[in-house]
């Protein structure tokens, strides 16, 4: 993680975005080449498929101090591996509910479908979740600290 921001700076959330290689990552790329503006709060991790993203990874990001999580894959029916995102959809539904159940703010955990042609929508999505996460403030729960 980056060093902690200077005290006089305004807090900006750090959002870890797990983007599938075939759709959402390409969508993010399109947003870039199309010069769509979106907040610089996300740190992208490219994954082969949204089905690859495990609960371990999401919790690890939260433990390391991520203020929010975004997992995005292909739209249902468009998965490069036919059904990876459909398995993921079931798993994410349960995980999101479980994390909310134990008291993690629902705003922090976000899932989305973005296709390779949805550059504009990607920019819009990032703007939306950054605003959402700003409303709940810096993450405290599940952040590991030592010393």
């Amino acid at each position: 993680m980056d060093p902690a921001p200077e005290k006089d700076q305004k807090w900006e959330p750090k959002i870890i975005a797990f983007l599938c290689n075939w759709c959402s990552y390409a969508g993010a790329d399109l947003a870039g080449v199309s010069r769509f503006q979106y907040p610089p709060n996300i740190r992208i991790i490219r994954v082969p498929c949204s089905g690859r993203v495990s609960a371990n990874m999401i919790l690890d990001a939260l433990k390391a101090g991520a203020d929010g999580i975004l997992v995005s894959g292909c739209h249902p029916g468009d998965c490069h591996y036919i059904s990876g995102n459909l398995y993921a959809r079931r798993r994410f539904a349960l995980l999101k509910n479980l994390l909310e159940f134990i008291g993690i703010e629902p705003e922090r955990i976000n899932f989305s479908w973005i296709s390779a042609s949805e550059g504009e929508q990607f920019a819009e999505l990032v703007t939306k979740i950054t605003t959402r996460i700003k409303t709940v403030g810096p993450t405290k729960r599940l952040v590991k600290k030592i010393g």
Binding site: M1, P3, A4, A64, G65, K144, K145, I146, G147
Partner: protein, 342 residues
Amino acid sequence: MKILKLDDSDLKTLLARWYETRDLFSPVEKNGMAGWKRIEPLEFVEPAKGVPKTSLKTFFFPQPETLLEYSARPGDEGAYVPRPVKEKARERIILGVRPCDARSVLLNSLPFADDPYFKAKKDTTLIVGFTCKQPCSTCFCSWAGGSPMDTEGMDIAMTRVEGGYLADILTKKGEGLVDHLLDNREASPEEKEQLKTLREQAQGGTGSEGGPAEILKKKNLMDLYNAPFWQGLADSCINCGACTFLCPTCYCFDIQDETIKGKGRRIRYWDSCMFPLFTQHASGHNPRSQKVQRVRNRFMHKLKYFPERFGPLSCVGCGRCIRECPVNIDIREVMRDLLSIP
């Protein structure tokens, strides 16, 4: 050293006095379960019976213990160079300690004899023990080499008698705690006699010389190792670490470095011989890959290897493992089985 007779108000005054310069700890009900907690002097209640669920070892062998610290920011001066942790050396008094738990500290001092971390904790901790009137059905301290009236490992040993406590002052440090009372609260000869009788009664039938430690030391290692009953234990065992983590004399640990956001620390944390990872080699080979081997190791260590190396059993007979084992593995049965091997 002296034996004092204290009434309940003496004890209250003492606790308040000790609290001024030291931290007090005692068993408390927490979440419905007895554990150890830092207390205010007025909170202290003598535990009715038995030992709290968790053992005394957390005070001397904390979970985790930070051994070293370091900065993990490349730009910092001395980055990645480990340095000792600055400990606040406030003295602690642990109240309500039973003889078995007090004895566990002494047993753990044997393997940790040269351990500066253990020693530092021991040096700043005073133990005010309360001897046992009522043993639980899972208690077997006499068998393990102790006694319900034992004072080993304590600085002061309190024994409940009519009208208060007989406080046996056992160490210099213990004497320091009650120095202002030494001259005007000395117990009468009758009271001292009473304490002596209580102790003798409690000792009855122990006979540490012929105790399990001595007998097992003389037995052939391989006969015990190859005994047929281990498989039966492994059949029931689920290989969790409940027994080892609740045990006051299980002291195995692992060490690792944790680095988070520019800060690093080297921690020592409890490990358990019940876990396969305990003996996993870097090569992937595991000399104790089978459950039966791990179960056997726990008991062989406590009852054979430890006595051979240090003398006593690595067990104080507190009965925690018997009470909390989810599948009722009973160390007393294991001892009996081992003793019955010719």
